[in-house]
Amino acid sequence: MSGKTITRADLCEAVYQKVGLSRTESAALVELVLGEIKNCLERGETVKLSSFGSFVVRKKGQRIGRNPKTGKEVPISPRRVMVFKPSAILKQCINGAEVADEAED
């Protein structure tokens, strides 16, 4: 809860350290990767990233919701939402289990 927040800048720095490209290029590439994932999801496609997790787009039908303040019933329009399903490996990492580093580089 008290941890710090990692942003794009930190990801760019990590890419810059790992790959022999300039900072500007690294930043552009982080953007490119995220952009590609976003485009894919926008098309409604599932994005599976092994040992990380998958992003799935779900369709929700119309339903009746309630304004919690006034108690009034309001229709909630049909929509698409995106969910992230973490992989078992990611869950283990977060619980502090030592997982064999399978990223070969």
């Binding site: 942003t7 990801l11 890419v15 790992k18 490119l32 995220l34 040992s51 973490p86 990492c93 977060i94």
Partner: protein
């Protein structure tokens, strides 16, 4: 789309990049997110969403079939919240049937 397809896609539309490099970049990004979450940090990517870690305390659960008490150890789970821009993008194109 899976990771290898993502890598392929990006290197195809950017012929000046080696596929190996793109692969390393994608892995570097993902590893950095995993490392941050393992430390308990949050990862916020504007326009996409935010990854955070939720800590659940230990509790006594029930086996739904037998009704027996089972102790569930404390655990942390990864959590993702879709960003505002992404949420809007999902719904602007084709409204679901």
């Amino acid at each position: 789309m899976i990771k290898s397809e993502l890598v392929q896609h990006i290197s195809m539309s950017n012929p000046h990049l080696y596929q190996r490099d793109v692969e390393n970049i994608v892995n570097a990004i993902l590893n950095e997110i995993v490392a941050a979450m393992s430390r308990g940090d949050r990862v916020e990517l504007r326009g996409f969403g935010a990854f955070s870690v939720k800590n659940w305390p230990a509790r006594t659960g029930r086996n739904p079939r037998t009704g027996a008490h089972v102790s569930v150890a404390q655990k942390s789970v990864p959590f993702f919240k879709t960003g505002k821009e992404m949420r809007e993008r999902l719904n602007k194109s084709i409204p679901p049937a």
